[in-house]
Amino acid sequence: MSVADLAAVDAALVAVLSADATLQGLCPDGVYRDTAPAGSSRYVIVSLITHVTEEGFGAALYERFVYAVKAVLPATTGVDANAAALRIHGLLYRTILAPIAGYTHMATLRLEPIRYMDGDAIDDDLRYQHAGAQYEISVSPNP
């Protein structure tokens, strides 16, 4: 029975998003797990929401990871953030996520979109747009 490293899926997800030139153009500060370095202003956040292992025949049959993947940009409108979200969707939805150390990718689906604006209580003109979606990634642990 294999014991695959769950972080391998995080790493594969960050790698595929980081490697795309179009997404880099929209979010030049990079792709990060959970939080971005201080001072970053245009970036992508990948955050694990939940993970479920489906057991059967005495082993893990497959595992489901649900991630929040969103672009964060300072803007008064959602145009650029929505463009980044669309690019993220194009890179992930029903595409093959590979390589993932210890796993074989099965499917990536979108569950719910994420869209909101984060305003500043002091500076009314400073607003951050957050746009992306929850993505469910199913993978099978390699024997």
Partner: protein, 139 residues
């Protein structure tokens, strides 16, 4: 009660349609499960939300929890747990701390995983009811 028959579903859309087409006594039992699930999820999310210490916002996350109900044909019931406070979405998915050292504050991921867990358990229970009623459910 005796029900015989069979159907195959390949997705949630088909599953919901199958539930909506069931005899009324089964949909009543299923409705109870949907109801109980929504209430249990609300209780767990409420307990997980912090009250906070800022008097301007204390308790707002908990106070913003709502269950909405939609009734369809033949007793079909949809219960939706919503978190409607102003800061709920930022609490869930994160926000940017403003100021000279702006940085992204990670989301707490409270409501979504709790609801997903309850929904998965509810679906397993509903499938068991269908199978006890003589229907064959194959995913």
């Amino acid at each position: 009660m005796s029900v015989s028959g069979g159907f195959t579903w390949s997705g949630m859309k088909e599953f919901r349609a199958a539930i909506a087409a069931l005899p009324e006594d089964i949909t009543a039992e299923a409705s109870d499960i949907v109801d109980t699930t929504a209430t249990a999820a609300l209780g767990e999310v409420r307990a997980a939300y912090p009250i906070g210490t800022d008097p301007r916002t204390a308790g707002q996350l908990r106070a913003g929890l709502r269950i909405t109900t939609t009734r369809g044909k033949r007793g079909a019931l949809r219960r939706e747990l919503r978190s409607e406070s102003r800061h709920a979405v930022m609490y869930e998915y994160g926000w940017v701390a403003h100021g000279p050292k702006r940085r992204h504050i990670p989301g707490k991921h409270v409501l979504v995983p709790i609801v997903m867990r309850h929904r998965a358990r509810m679906e397993a229970t509903l499938i068991a009811i269908l199978e006890q009623s003589g229907l064959h459910v194959r995913g």
